[in-house]
């Protein structure tokens, strides 16, 4: 008797639960997982990325397409396996609908591969900017609303050759996918403009002792290209100062950023006058940028943020805004394997704080590149950047057809591009 009762009760409960679920399907909150670095080289950077993400959510009132939003943090340490672990956790146990992130280059490649295995989830890239993520074997459900490293470095090479007259450089860059990609953007342009790369040094991500590399830098060069970021850059610059910094520097896209410029100590002295190309410029006159900076500064007390948003905050903000805008367009409809949502994302064009952004057929952003120079700020207490020029509509292959890009430049690696060949081809 009791058993029967229990069975009936269970059945009623189960049916009730099921009906309840169906009825509430549209009212269920949308769950977003945010993958962001909280440890290692990009720990501070990741925290600012999270601020950008939160800012976008706050501006949207924690809802999109009529559904409220819940979010879960997926902390990583910058390595692909940590990103994979965090993403699996988000999908398998936190039950998220979409993921925003990751931050670091090789994490992005791992997430592209992971995206192939979870077709029911949509991943919108945070900051990670390795070229292969969207260029080789792109995933249908992986979207990147930021230009990748090669795009972000483009234009700097011809600038230093033509405006600064620096034609012989040595390079020190991070030995992983983003380091290669960002270097490629600089070098392809630099070599085509007639520059010569004397020596390339590759340092592992997360290096703390650069003594031997600094010593090995050649004397007879016009400048040193520095393709590292986060705390690696701070360590390098400190040690470079200690060793008696003498040569001009050329900055990668992640060095002339608030996350490095605000570091304490002597590191920054070496940076004044350094040109760099990247996603944003602190003194950009775009009205969307001005509004974004004001919102960022109003959003957190002064000691809990950077003076001005770092690129990590901006790019996470953009990714989140893109997701929320597309959700608004489809009325929060994530049914049928996100079909409508993804179509909306693919067609999305946004006038973001860092210029107009649209996606190409690989779901990779086409957008603006800013060239800036590092200067002391107005009251002499720190460093900031001064805009030199902005180029709009830069795509993943610098405007070349894909096969020509592959034959002339090639995929990012330690040895690409072939500088001599590019220089000879241009002459």
């Amino acid at each position: 008797m009791t058993l029967k009762k229990a069975l009936v009760a269970t059945a009623i409960l189960a049916v009730g639960g099921l009906v309840g679920q169906v009825a509430a399907a549209d009212e269920d909150p949308i769950r977003i997982g945010v993958l962001v670095t909280q440890e290692g080289t990009f720990a501070n950077a990741g925290s600012d990325g999270l601020r950008g993400f939160e800012l976008a959510l706050r501006e949207a009132g924690m809802e999109a397409g009529g559904r409220s939003i819940e979010w879960v943090l997926g902390p990583t340490n910058g390595t692909p396996d940590s990103a994979l672990r965090a993403a699996r956790q988000l999908v398998d146990s936190d039950d998220v609908d979409l993921i925003i992130g990751p931050l670091s280059g090789s994490e992005g490649i791992a997430m592209r591969d992971y995206a192939h295995t979870v077709p029911e989830i949509t991943i919108i890239n945070g900051v990670s900017s390795a070229m292969e993520t969207t260029f080789v074997d792109p995933a249908e459900n992986f979207f990147r609303f930021n230009i990748q490293g090669a795009q972000a470095g483009y234009g700097l090479g011809s600038y230093v050759v033509n405006e600064r007259g620096w034609t012989r450089v040595a390079t020190v860059a991070a030995d992983y996918s983003f380091g290669y990609t960002n270097f490629l953007g600089f070098a392809a342009d630099f070599c085509a403009a007639g520059g010569e790369i004397v020596e390339r040094f590759w340092v592992p991500l997360g290096s703390s002792d650069f003594g031997a590399v600094i010593a090995a830098l050649p004397y007879d060069v016009d400048a040193i290209y520095l393709g590292i970021g986060g705390t690696d850059a701070i360590n390098f610059l400190n040690q470079y100062e200690q060793a008696g910094a003498e040569t001009n520097l050329i900055g990668s896209s992640i060095i002339a950023d608030q996350s490095v410029l605000t570091a304490r100590g002597t590191a920054r002295d070496a940076l004044i006058g350094t040109p760099a190309a990247g996603w944003q410029a602190a003194d950009s006159d775009l009205p969307e940028w001005q509004a974004f900076v004001a919102a960022y500064q109003a959003g957190w007390p002064e000691d809990e943020r950077f003076p001005s948003p770092s690129l990590y905050a901006t790019l996470y903000y953009n990714a989140t805004v893109a997701a929320l805008t597309a959700l608004d367009e489809v009325g929060g409809d994530l049914s049928d394997g996100h079909t409508e949502f993804r179509a909306a994302l693919s067609a999305l064009e946004m006038d973001s704080p860092i210029g107009h952004i649209s996606l190409d057929e690989n779901r990779q952003a086409v957008g603006s590149v800013f060239i800036s120079e590092v200067v002391e700020n107005a009251d002499g207490t720190g460093l900031t950047t001064q805009l030199v020029s902005r180029t709009d509509g830069v795509n993943a292959t610098f405007g070349l057809p894909t096969d020509q890009f592959m034959s002339m430049v090639g995929l990012p690696s330690r040895d690409t591009p072939d500088c001599d060949a590019l220089r000879d081809a241009a002459n």
Partner: protein, 337 residues
């Protein structure tokens, strides 16, 4: 030494030739053909110096580890946490007081006290149960790493060196010829020279204390046979406590040093625990001279490796360890036992 030369005349001859060659390579300007094969001399000299400085840092961490092991047979796997704690505290003290040198004293005292607490609360309770001690210290290191992550966050800190240690200094070592054929001398960061110098002073100080004082005699006797030492009325537990505090304090100081010329961040604890394990395995468990030799060897291998064979630099360290374990399992200066 003399006995070794008599027993192995060929090996001794080779060793002397190698030593002479290294001395020549360090002091004489390199001929052109030589630079074509080995790269610029400046690079070689810098790698050698960086290797020795890094070795000095490893020695500071490993000497405490090896002293504690040698005397008490405690394998303290939380030694790396003491290093990291020292680094964070050094950063805080240097920020707070503004005196870099003072932070060393404060860190030595505070981390030394933490070491004493560990000795009293953990090791004394588990006297003689080596496996349990090892497991408990692994647990402590995990908890400590999380607590420090909670307190200081995941970002990296750098301890600022004072102004008088900023910038490079010129050493009386020829680095090569300049553009006009004049001799160029090696320029090397002052702060690293200071660290190297301090490590040598500390190393000699410990050696003197161990070999020339009564306390040192007690400690050495304790390494050989602590039961007899206790039976002779020496307050052995107090000696244990002192050595443990000293070793912990040294790890703390090493943290400040590491934070000054590298940086302090989560994960450095395991990195330095690994480094000191490798150093004492190569040098010989419990031997101070072994720790010094092992530290310099590993430091040199890392730095020379990162210049001349960057891809395999990491492997080199472990190759040395494997070679030592294969041919001299007790370590270079260790005793069979």
């Amino acid at each position: 030494m003399r006995e070794f030369a008599r027993q192995h005349p060929v090996w001794s001859g080779i060793a002397i030739v190698v030593a002479l060659f290294v001395i020549w390579a360090i002091f004489a300007p390199w001929p052109e053909g030589f630079e074509a094969i080995f790269g610029r001399k400046r690079v070689f000299l810098n790698a050698v110096f960086s290797g020795i400085t890094l070795g000095a840092l490893y020695f500071l961490v490993a000497s405490g580890f090896t002293l504690i092991f040698g005397l008490m047979h405690n394998v303290n796997l939380a030694h790396g946490s003491l290093y990291l704690l020292g680094g964070y505290l050094g950063y805080e003290f240097a920020e707070w007081t503004g005196y870099w040198l003072l932070s060393f004293v404060l860190v030595f005292v505070v981390v030394g006290c933490v070491g004493m607490a560990m000795q009293v609360l953990v090791f004394r309770r588990l006297e003689g149960q080596e496996l349990r001690q090892t497991l408990v210290t692994i647990g402590i290191s995990v908890v400590a790493a999380d607590l420090m992550l909670w307190a200081w966050g995941g970002s990296s800190y750098q301890v600022m060196s004072p102004d008088w240690l900023r910038g490079p200094m010129e050493l009386p070592l020829i680095a090569g010829y300049g553009r006009d054929g004049e001799l160029v001398y090696l320029r090397y960061p002052k702060v690293r020279i200071a660290i190297l110098f301090a490590a040598i002073v500390i190393g000699i100080g410990i050696w003197m204390a161990l070999n020339r004082t009564r306390i040192g005699m007690i400690i050495r006797a304790g390494v050989d046979d602590r039961d007899i030492l206790g039976a002779m009325g020496i307050p052995i537990s107090r000696v244990f406590l002192g050595v443990f505090a000293f070793g912990a304090g040294l790890a703390g100081i090493a943290g400040v040093v590491g934070g000054t010329f590298q940086s302090i961040a989560p994960g450095e604890d395991t990195r330095f625990l690994m480094a000191s394990l490798v150093v004492v395995i190569v040098g010989g468990m419990g031997s101070l001279q072994g720790a010094a030799i092992g530290a310099v060897l590993i430091g040199l291998a890392e730095q020379l490796g990162s210049v001349y064979m960057p891809t395999y630099a990491v492997v080199l360290t472990f190759l040395i360890m494997a070679a030592v374990l294969a041919f001299r399992p007790q370590g270079l200066m260790g005793r069979r036992g």
